[in-house]
């Protein structure tokens, strides 16, 4: 179980959110919604441990993530606002390096299968990522979800730049993760086509 306890965050002088307490149980998704600049990305980065909260705590299985450090990092997959891929490398190379650094399996055709699952056909696999469109680059970043075996996924605007088909693939992948007891936190402007009983919303306001 993953929870935040009275979490407060700010950027400079501006308070983004305060006293946010929320629990994400296995098999559920937390959709963080709000206007641009309401602090969704900062909230997600805080959940990753990339930002420190002003007050409050983030607990993983009842333990503060600041104490768990690398043990907590080993539980999560984060797809940020930035894709975290290298333009000079091919999608296959990007995913292989990513999988290697995450300790995921990248052997055989697993990487190719992940890219195909997100709708990127074989001819694209060997092109430099810089020649791909924004949507295709986003697909490469999201293909990491097909390699991930970690229980907690933190996704910042995963559907940005994606077309309808890719949005459907990613939603199906999230649904499959939830059905296996995974937990997902998504910062998004879009409605996610998942059963309502598995989704809870957190609205951040400016």
């Amino acid at each position: 179980m993953f929870e935040t306890v009275a979490l407060s965050g700010s950027r400079g002088e501006r308070v983004l959110f305060s006293d946010v307490s929320v629990t994400v149980k296995p098999g559920t998704l937390l959709a963080v919604v709000g206007e641009n600049g309401s602090g969704k990305t900062s909230f997600l980065r805080m959940l990753c441990g990339l930002l420190s909260p002003d007050q409050g705590a983030i607990l993983w299985q009842g333990k503060d993530i600041r104490r768990l450090k690398e043990l907590y990092s080993a539980q999560l997959t984060y797809v940020g606002h930035l894709n975290g891929i290298k333009d000079e490398l091919t999608p296959v190379e990007n995913l292989k390096v990513s999988a290697c650094l995450a300790g995921d399996d990248s052997s055989g055709g697993i990487v190719q299968t992940a890219l195909e699952a997100v709708g990127l056909g074989r001819p694209i696999h060997r092109l430099p990522t810089r020649v791909l469109s924004q949507g295709q680059k986003r697909r490469v970043a999201l293909a990491r979800l097909w390699l991930s075996t970690r229980p907690l996924w933190l996704l910042d605007e995963p559907f940005a730049s994606l077309d309808t088909a890719a949005t459907r693939y990613v939603t199906q992948r999230i649904q499959s993760h939830l059905s296996h007891g995974g937990m997902v936190v998504v910062a998004t402007h879009q409605e996610i086509a998942l059963p309502p009983d598995s989704v809870q919303h957190l609205r951040l306001t400016r």
């Binding site: 441990g49 990339l50 080993a74 940020g80 975290g84 891929i85 490398l89 300790g103 991930s148």
Partner: protein, 227 residues
């Protein structure tokens, strides 16, 4: 659930950086050309007097190596910071200081090692003897990774700041001075016939000191930069 071993994670970081260097061969070549051109211009400017060339060799070659390192520091973390790879690196479940060491090693392989390999050839232009060439190579072999490690602290501290190129130079140049003094001193002592062991030992001490503290300091600076 997955977790990479420490060696897997470091190998992954090094592999990616070297792969990127292979795709950006011009950047690597630029450092090498810089060193070759600068070191070759000095004999032309100073004149062909062998005694003079031998005396200035250590200083010229060491300053050239130092500037080549400084030139390439901007590339150490900036691209990773801009494309989100640095965020992902910070979330690898291994100590960040160890991963930083992997990145610094790649930086040294790309910018420092070519200088070390070229140094005997460059030393010949200054009329250095076989023994002095050996000392020059050894001093650069100890000194250039130290420069990379110290430079990484500066590169991390100035990450994301406007005018970071100048700032990093202001920050790290004073810290480079001991390495420059001991490195150039080792070669000068060898040329003048005085033993260079003391300078090489001090250079080794600088290397060990930076190996102990620089990755940790760089990791702290990177965490602050990403916040």
């Amino acid at each position: 659930m997955s977790q990479p071993s420490m060696s897997e994670a470091v190998r992954g970081v090094v592999r990616r950086d070297l792969l990127l260097a292979m795709r950006h061969r011009s950047d690597v070549a630029m450092s090498v050309f810089f060193v070759v051109i600068v070191a070759s211009l000095f004999p032309l400017g100073v004149g062909p007097e062998p005694a003079v060339l031998r005396m200035i060799a250590s200083g010229v070659l060491w300053v050239t190596a130092l500037l080549a390192c400084l030139l390439s520091l901007g590339r150490l973390f900036t691209a990773d910071y801009l494309d989100g790879v640095l965020e992902q690196t910070l979330l690898i479940p291994q100590p960040l200081s160890v991963l930083v060491l992997g990145k610094v090693f790649s930086h040294w392989v790309i910018s420092g090692l070519p200088v070390v390999l070229l140094s005997p050839l460059l030393g010949l232009q200054f009329g250095l003897s076989g023994n002095s060439l050996g000392v020059l190579t050894l001093s650069l072999l100890l000194g250039t990774p130290t420069l990379s490690m110290i430079g990484a602290i500066g590169a991390a501290l100035t990450l994301g700041l406007r005018g970071s190129g100048l700032l990093v130079a202001l920050l790290v140049l004073p810290l480079f001075i001991p390495v420059l003094i001991f490195g150039a001193g080792a070669v000068t002592n060898s040329v003048t016939g005085v033993g260079s062991e003391a300078n090489l030992s001090l250079l080794g001490a600088c290397f060990l000191l930076s190996l102990t503290f620089a990755p940790w300091a760089t990791a702290v600076a990177l965490r602050i930069a990403v916040e």
